[in-house]
Structure formats: structure tokens, C-alpha cells
Symmetry: C2
Subunit: 301 residues, 2 copies
């Protein structure tokens, strides 16, 4: 069994397509095909079902795939750890985060981090709430920004970074646009624009409404925060969003208004696996995160 075989195997397994896998691996199709056969012969098991020209994993192939993914994560981490050992400041931070932090919070932190460590590299992966948690537990990532923290996950180390206010974003000609604050209750009959099902931030909004006894009327859905801004901008509805995502510039023809009674907030934190240690550069970033937001808090108060 050789490393190369595992690489080929995993590529074929994920793509379910030998030719594509070969192309992505920069080798001939025949090489991939042959190595897969070699691997199967050595393991004395069929890893793939060949149905006509389709290729997909057998049940045991799936198990093997999962195990190899784990092993490869360990090995990749080890390689990075070795590389970063001598020079952590030039290493790579792999981090996963929800869409709601993509626009403002994360870029801001990364910008500040790179002022101090200009050679640090980042690999970023936007993910849905549950995916994100799984990714950190399974070893695809060692760092995840998330809000709110999934407190019941026992395999994760969790650290609160900050609590942010959620404000209402209204079209500029909206009847409430001139108010200095709005109550969520006042939006009962408004059309909402929200992220699609599956995004936590949608759930935060829906839950806040449900606590007041109504279910928001979702008129439009948008795939990212900017899409929501556009929809509000076009006067198609109202939405709630974290204040930070509006800090740079308010979308054209909109106003943001603080929410009161109740104020809606969410807590944002960072999760890391309890089982694995952070790689050197990631440790730098982790410590930086805490320092950064602690200082922000000091500044506010």
C-alpha cells in the first residue's frame, strides 16, 4: 500500500469518475485505473462498484474512505506542523466560518492579523452551521468562527469572542424608517427577506419572532448577506442583521434602526477541537483573536 494509491483512490472516490480524477491528479487515466486495481488487490476487497462505466464506492469502500480521510488529515497536519515549526509566521491558517461573519468580521480580523504577520496565509471555507461544526470535529479544520457557540458539543473547545447587536434594516421610504428605534413586534406584518433554510442566522431571526408569538412572513430569500441588502434596498422587505455587517457603508436607500424590547443579540466565538492541538500558525491566530476582541471590548466601554 502506498501513499499514491490512497491519493488516487480518494480522488476517484470523491469524483466517482476515473478520468476526471486522473485529470485533476495530472496523470493518465490508465495510471489511476491501474493503481486502484493494485490497491484493491492488496486489500483483497473491491472498493468500487463498476456498473457499466459508472464507478462508485462499495460499503466497505466508504468505510475505508472515511478512515483514509482521517489519516490524511493527520498526515497533512503533520506536514504543515513540520513546515511551520521553524517559522510559524509564514504558515497557513485554515478556518471555517458562517456567511454572516464573511462580510465584515472575518476580513477585519484577518487584516489586523496580517499587519502583524504579513506572511501568514489563510485558507477560508464558508460553511453552514452544522457543516462547520462537523468540519472541526472531523479534522478538516482546526479553527471555526461561529455564533452562537454550540455549547453541547463536548469535543470542542469553545471561547466567546464578542456579543453583537442585531439591528433592523429597512427601505428608506418605510413607514418606520424615521424612528430612532423599533420593537420587533412592530414588524409583525412586514414582509421579511431572509437567508434560506439551513442558515443559523435565519434561525436566530425566526426564533426571535417566535418568542414574540409570530412567524415572520418571508417574502424573499437571498443566498448571502449582500443579496439581502439588495432586496431591502429594492424595497422588497425588511430584514435583521448583525450591526457589524453594516458598519462600512449602508446599502443605498436603506436605513438601519436599533431593535429594542427585546434587543436581539448573538454571541460569536471560536471553536477548536479538544482532541487535537492547533498547528503553530493557527495557535498564533487563535491567541490573536482573543487579544483582538478583548481590546475591542475595552475600547467600547
Amino acid at each position: 500500500m502506498e501513499f499514491r494509491q490512497i491519493r488516487y483512490f480518494m480522488e476517484v472516490a470523491t469524483r466517482e469518475h476515473v478520468t476526471e480524477a486522473a485529470h485533476s491528479l495530472h496523470v493518465a487515466q490508465s495510471s489511476v485505473s491501474r493503481q486502484i486495481v493494485n490497491l484493491e488487490n492488496e486489500l483483497e476487497v473491491d472498493l468500487f462498484i463498476r456498473e457499466g462505466r459508472r464507478v462508485h464506492l462499495t460499503p466497505i469502500g466508504k468505510i475505508f474512505f472515511e478512515r483514509m480521510k482521517h489519516a490524511m488529515n493527520v498526515i497533512d497536519d503533520a506536514r504543515r506542523e513540520v513546515k511551520e515549526y521553524l517559522d510559524p509566521e509564514k504558515g497557513t491558517i485554515r478556518i471555517t466560518f458562517p456567511i454572516s461573519l464573511a462580510a465584515y468580521t472575518l476580513p477585519t480580523v484577518i487584516y489586523a492579523f496580517r499587519l502583524r504577520y504579513p506572511e501568514a496565509k489563510f485558507q477560508l471555507k464558508q460553511a453552514l452551521y452544522q457543516e462547520l461544526i462537523e468540519g472541526v470535529i472531523k479534522g478538516d479544520f482546526n479553527l471555526g468562527l461561529i455564533g452562537p457557540l454550540p455549547l453541547k458539543e463536548k469535543k470542542l473547545q469553545q471561547k466567546v469572542l464578542f456579543t453583537e447587536n442585531i439591528v433592523a434594516l429597512l427601505p428608506i421610504h418605510h413607514r418606520l424608517a424615521k424612528e430612532s428605534s423599533v420593537k420587533l413586534q412592530e414588524l409583525v406584518d412586514e414582509p421579511f427577506v431572509l437567508l434560506p433554510e439551513g442558515f443559523v442566522f435565519r434561525d436566530i431571526v425566526v426564533n426571535a419572532c417566535q418568542n414574540l408569538g409570530f412567524i415572520p412572513n418571508v417574502a424573499f430569500e437571498g443566498d448571502d448577506i449582500d443579496a439581502l441588502k439588495g432586496l431591502v434596498s429594492a424595497g422588497l422587505g425588511v430584514t435583521l442583521m448583525p450591526e457589524v455587517t453594516l458598519v462600512d457603508s449602508l446599502p443605498r436607500s436603506t436605513v438601519k434602526i436599533p431593535l429594542v424590547e427585546p434587543s436581539v443579540t448573538r454571541t460569536v466565538g471560536v471553536i477548536t477541537p479538544k482532541e487535537r492541538a492547533l498547528l503553530p500558525t493557527e495557535k498564533l491566530f487563535y491567541d490573536f483573536l482573543q487579544e483582538f476582541f478583548t481590546r475591542l471590548d475595552d475600547f467600547k466601554s
Copy 2:
């Protein structure tokens, strides 16, 4: 980076000797030497310090070694899992255990297990208490028999199998040899023969004595249970041991006498890692263990 390099690397790292490693790997010394250099070039790091003709790991080499040990454990398990998938009854059980279970308990269970699954294979590793726990946590083993259970270890799944009596073993001409029971207190001034420091079973005895306010006078130490039996047999002292280790035959010129006030017992159980699933054959054995000792208990009562 290829598996072959990792295998060579690990062999050299453990032996700190290229020629020996090469021999054990059944390849020429030059091959090993060259692969190590290749690996180091690819990682851009020295893994070994060459001092004259000595070879030993650099600090980062040690880290890399630990990571690779982990990865290789995952990979080896995966291979076994695949092999055992189709036919668990022919697979291998890797298990670690303390010396006190080596003589009677473990052989008995294995014998019974093999009556049902004659093709199952075993890899056995006797270990000291702490080593054993580490071995299961780190992934060198997925099963460990142990007594008492290390309840504070949160990474381990723990299951009690049975509780056993501990009895006194005396030379046949000992003044107490005719009694039907002895109190531990009566052995205050006796010379004890015990296992050396580091064995839990020694600690169990010493603690029992300390609870009665005395420290046993250790006259001789023996490396294994049979050595202790021999020492008692020769009249050099008394000892305590689990009753099961005497069940087959009493050593020549000795008598076993139940302990009362207090009776001394120890709980024996099995530990498995919470983080990893048991391999198919190991799962068979794990289930068998519980069934086996449950039935024993039923039988006793």
C-alpha cells in the same frame, strides 16, 4: 512523500540505527539512508541529528514521529477493518493487560472465545497500569483489561467485568497456615514478597495495609506472579494475590487463606477508546467478554 519513506523513517527513529532498521525492513542500508534523505528534502527539515555515526531524532523529528505513529495506527486499523469486514471471525484481537491477569483470567477467556471462534487470532501485550491506559488512549490498542478501572480517564469507555477476592498466600509451615481465615492486621510483622514498584497490584496491597496503619515490610520482590509464588513456596515471605491466580493449582508448600476484616477485593474491567470504534473482530470479543463474565456471575450466585 510516500508510505515507504514513513515506514523507513519510523524504523530508523525507533532503533536509532540505520543498518539495523534496514535489516529489519529487509532492504539494503543504502536504500533506507536514501529514502530518509529524500523525506527530509521534501519536508525541508532535518529529522535526524547525525553525530558521527550516531543517528537520533531532532525535536521536530520527534514531533513528526508522534504524528506519523498516530497516522499509521489509523491506517493499520483501516486495513484490518477492511480485511475483517467480510469475515470477522478470522480477524485479530489486539489487547493489552496487566500481569496479574496474565496467568489465569486472560487465558481462560481466550480459550473460551476460541471455542466459539476457532480462527480468531490474538496479539497480546502485557503492560504496566499507566502504559496500558496510554496505549489504549493513543491508539496502539483498542482493548485493555485492567483492574481497577481508571475512572477519571474521560477518553475511555469503561465496563466492569467482575470483582475478585484477594487472598493471602502463606508458606505451609507458617504459624497462620492452619487458620481458616486471617485478618490483614495479623500480617503486620510478616515479611512480604511483592511485585516491584510500578505495578498496580503492588499498590493495591500496600494501600490495603496502609489503611490498617502499617507499611508492609517488603523482603523480596518478584517480576511476575509465578516468581512470587516461588518465593512464598521457599518460605521467604507471605503475599496477597487474586484468588483466580491460584485456582488451577496451589504452588508447592503453600496455603491460601481468605482475608477477612477487611476483605480485600479488586474490580476488573475492560477499557476501550471513546474516540474510536472497535474493529469487527474486537467487537466480537468485547461482546463476548461481557457475556462470559455475566454468565460466570450467574453461576456463582
